[in-house]
Symmetry: C2
Amino acid sequence: MASNFDHENHGRTEVPDVVVSRLPQYVRTLTQLLSEGVQIANSQQLGEKLQITPAQIRKDLSYFGRFGKQGRGYNVNHLLEELRQILGLTVTWNVAVVGVGRLGRAILSYPGFTPDGFQLVAALDDNPDVVGQDVGGLTVQPVAQLNDVIQRHEVSIAIVAVPIAYTQGVVDRLVECGVKAILNYAPIMPQVPEHVNVRNIDPLLSLQSMTYYLANGTVSE
Amino acid sequence: MASNFDHENHGRTEVPDVVVSRLPQYVRTLTQLLSEGVQIANSQQLGEKLQITPAQIRKDLSYFGRFGKQGRGYNVNHLLEELRQILGLTVTWNVAVVGVGRLGRAILSYPGFTPDGFQLVAALDDNPDVVGQDVGGLTVQPVAQLNDVIQRHEVSIAIVAVPIAYTQGVVDRLVECGVKAILNYAPIMPQVPEHVNVRNIDPLLSLQSMTYYLANGTVSE
DNA sequence: TAGATTGTTAATCGATTAACAATC
DNA sequence: TAGATTGTTAATCGATTAACAATC
């Protein structure tokens, strides 16, 4: 059974997660260079901007193809477009926000997602006082309608900003609805089947690891 | 000059960053177990909760001491207290929030930091309409007062939630004021001297790496 | 004491970096 | 063509895991 999966990538070398996680940073840097009018950049220059070795950049890119020219470097615009294509950033992804408390409202009002192809198409909450409200141009729907809302709006990504006690339950329901990408803001790591991706936004963990260095007078990296 | 640093850890083996970053998760899990009345847990049980191998947990802990009993496991309460001590979570850390826009307000109103020993003691902004406002029980100060505010409140951690164009400038000023731990919410990676720690909260990067798996029909991990 | 689980060493795995032939 | 930089292979580094003696 499991051995079936071995054939599913059609002989492509599996790309390490850590490599995929760097690509959006490459996209960001290239976008910035482009806006500055830079047309060509080599791995050395990109490495300086990104605080990464040139070798790593070339290695990372080599998982996906050959985008540079020897003796010259990379065409910024071309590499950017290739990476956007690889990351699936050339299409629009519909996003639902579950949980419209203070944090959910901040997320819904944040204009930073839309330019990058993420369209907030639905907001859901369980609080009767909140349902029906207009937040960031969306009418808050009851969570009971989750399945229907996800189908109707073709939601493929969910942002979860509900209290910790409800998080796993909401995530379970999202998974049942076929959502395969979840951005979770609750301080908990929800369990999901392995075909579903979860990313946790957990500032408290970040703070708690920094205090180690504050308390011990050393520095990370 | 640099060789001086070699002596500063007094022969202690340097703890890898990745190990330090897992400790807060251990603390969280142990806290939960304690609240459930569990008194003893072995590395196997902790591993299941944390989705980590038992060997890794034992290895991680071994950087800091011997906290278990062979044949028995770990006393939950004791291990928790030891880890809190190691992470510097037994003392209160004063935190300043720079940037009181929508996001800054959400952070200032979020009750989740305080229980863990992080005390929000100051809020700063540059917008004259915002300065003087009461937000989450704090009066917003002008950023011009940064140095003074940090001194007066003994701030050791800053949370930065200002627009991207101001982020590096604010971070530079914080570093000048002696702040050694910065939690940054802007979609940029500020450059700091190596004795300063920065953690970036960057949900857009998380979304952009998940779309890779959505677009390519595979799954991370 | 017998059984269980730690703490630690050694083996494995995977990611990063260095080096260089290919080639623009 | 000469010089520069890529793409890729091999070497290195570091983190994870397995194994087991120590010991509760």
